[in-house]
Symmetry: C2
Subunit: 177 residues, 2 copies
């Protein structure tokens, strides 16, 4: 069971503002294609999402970007309300390791892990194999960092970098074990 | 009077560990050349350094990397002890704006600004024109961030990215006014 992160990051290392907003990803001119997101989504067979991120996406009323990929929302509470149109969503009340075990036992092979706290927890637990980070040309000063303060060093191997015409710099890293 | 930053950054956005150490920049295999540092140093005619960084460099006993570039150390105290061998060092008890005014009035045209707190202060004051950041493939979880929390958004323009064989990704940005 592999797990990957695919997200935008401010130049100072934040994946969202303190309130979960990712508006700083916008306003950088035309983006070529979808920055490889569709190809990435095709490479996973399930998604693990934090509760805050799920609520934020639902509250925003934005289009559901994850197609029919089964999305497991880590939460201790009922999801409440209807799922977004077209979404396959299931709550899961498990920690990071148990989540990966359960998904692997169910037959899944590659999870897309998304959401500030969840990414931090999965990184700290050594469960992330790959990070695809799109570096956005803005400093935002504060927000939700990619890593939790007590996670220790996580050495990575650079797998390649693509530069987009609007100044986005996307780099792929695998976690060294 | 222009000001530029040239530094290494962990993938999660820290320019030093909490104690000022930058050991996470090491251990990434052979570095090709000097990552453009000599050329950058040739492009500046003075350097502004924070007191913590100066003390850290002096205490480390490391070779002085800045040649005969005049280095102004922002500090409210005497520098104490001898300067490193070959260094041209002068203390300056001024804030960011006053420092830039003074250096400009003295005839300098391009400052290399270095050190966690000083970089944060100069960025917050809108005094940085250019950032050359070398992204190092490791997450360190905590440290001195590139930006201060209250600095607000700083929009940037991407000027180019070079990828080095050891996985370092160096990007150049200019600050949009």
């Amino acid at each position: 069971m592999r797990a990957s992160v695919f997200c935008g990051v401010s130049l100072d290392g934040f994946i969202a503002r303190p309130d979960g907003s990712v508006d700083f990803l916008d306003g950088h001119g035309d983006v070529e294609g979808d920055l490889g997101f569709s190809a990435f989504l095709d490479s996973v067979d399930c998604m693990v999402m934090g509760r805050n991120t799920y609520d934020f996406v639902v509250a925003s009323g934005a289009e559901w970007h994850y197609g029919d990929t089964p999305v497991f929302v880590l939460t201790t509470r009922s999801l409440g309300g209807p799922s977004p149109e077209g979404a396959t969503v299931e709550p899961l009340q498990l920690g990071p390791e148990e989540t990966m075990e359960r998904l692997g036992a169910t037959g899944f092979t590659h999870a897309y892990v998304d959401g500030g706290v969840v990414v931090q927890q999965f990184l700290a637990a050594g469960l992330i194999d790959e990070l695809i980070l799109t570096r956005v040309p803005v400093l935002i000063g504060e927000g939700i960092p990619l890593t939790a303060p007590d996670a220790g060093d996580v050495p990575l191997e650079h797998g390649g970098t693509d530069v987009f015409g609007n100044g986005f710099v996307q780099s792929r890293y695998t976690v060294r074990r």
